[in-house]
Symmetry: C2
Subunit: 194 residues, 2 copies
């Protein structure tokens, strides 16, 4: 059993899938300060990988992140603990790379199918539109993932996001992150885990 | 001997080191269409990796890209073929991960030392300032790397860059890329390879 937590973000080009991975990896490794039972800070390492090849030419996009308290020598994600899916095409491609415990987070407006298992429906795109622009759907989804997984603190994630986004967008992205957290809590409750 | 070409971009946070790696990887895998001696298109695969860990907390930034005509199973770059250095701190950290053939490309205004070997001096930051903003120093450097390495076509790189950058910045970035190509040609000439 690996000590690492593996996360796969998938969707189509232009949805900001890569940004999600970069922000999560930076939040975990650079800004999060979780403590163990003795109150000692646990320092984490994160690796973010993207592969581009013949398969990526179809227009879908994937970004993998692996987070661990130990050093990692094999950075590829093969069977993720969290699988985030933002398009039907990405669903078809990645849904089979899973284990029974994989938590699947999908945008139900962009993915037709409803997989079995531990599935969380997060209407990230529709919710982003309520904020005025679907461009922040990825940040809504990231907020939901954080709430469901508790992999990093909300503060660390916000800091990592703000660092990579222009200042004029911070207010909008703060709202998107908070809306995602709310959707995440509701999805946990709907799954009887709230 | 590996069939892959390995490139390491290094600098400090905020210089756009990650963008350089993403643009190069996407250009190589998605948009470049090189042909072999039979005129057949060679399809390439690219992997872009970033590791964040205790060392990254010091403020330096690194982005590795591996490009190959074959599938890759080990994505880490250990001894790059091209080492791009945009800060003195990155220099101190990465200059030793090299082989005799490694081509080193540095911004001489940001790196005090002058390494031995095949070294190209590209004043990317000062040149970007001539264009009005040092924010495009990374794109200048990318243009120089392309010229020196010929890893991808200018057109493929421009397309990959434009895809990830806001439209209002395309003109500026086109100029930055061309300026970098010019600096790359001059550096090749200075090295007697023009």
């Amino acid at each position: 059993m690996s000590d690492a937590t593996e996360i796969r973000f998938s969707g189509f080009g232009g949805q900001g899938v890569i940004l999600m991975g970069i922000a999560l990896a930076r939040a975990a490794a650079l800004y999060d300060r979780p403590t163990d039972e003795d109150g000692k800070v646990v320092k984490k390492t994160a690796v973010q990988t993207q592969s581009y090849g013949p398969s990526a030419r179809g227009g879908h996009s994937k970004c993998d992140v692996k987070i661990s308290a130990k050093e990692m020598h094999y950075p590829f994600v093969e069977v993720p603990d969290y699988l985030i899916i933002l398009s039907q095409q990405a669903y078809a491609k990645y849904i089979h790379d899973r284990k029974p415990e994989t938590r699947i987070i999908i945008d139900p407006d962009l993915v037709r199918e409803r997989p079995k298992g531990e599935v969380y429906m997060i209407p990230a795109t529709a919710s982003a539109e309520e904020l005025g622009t679907r461009i922040v759907a990825n940040v809504v989804m990231l907020g939901a993932l954080r709430e469901i997984s508790q992999i990093v603190s909300h503060e660390a994630l916000e800091r990592a996001l703000f660092e990579t986004l222009p200042k004029v967008t911070h207010d909008l992205n703060r709202k998107a992150l908070e809306l995602g957290a709310k959707l995440g809590r509701e999805a946990l409750e709907a799954a009887g885990k709230g």
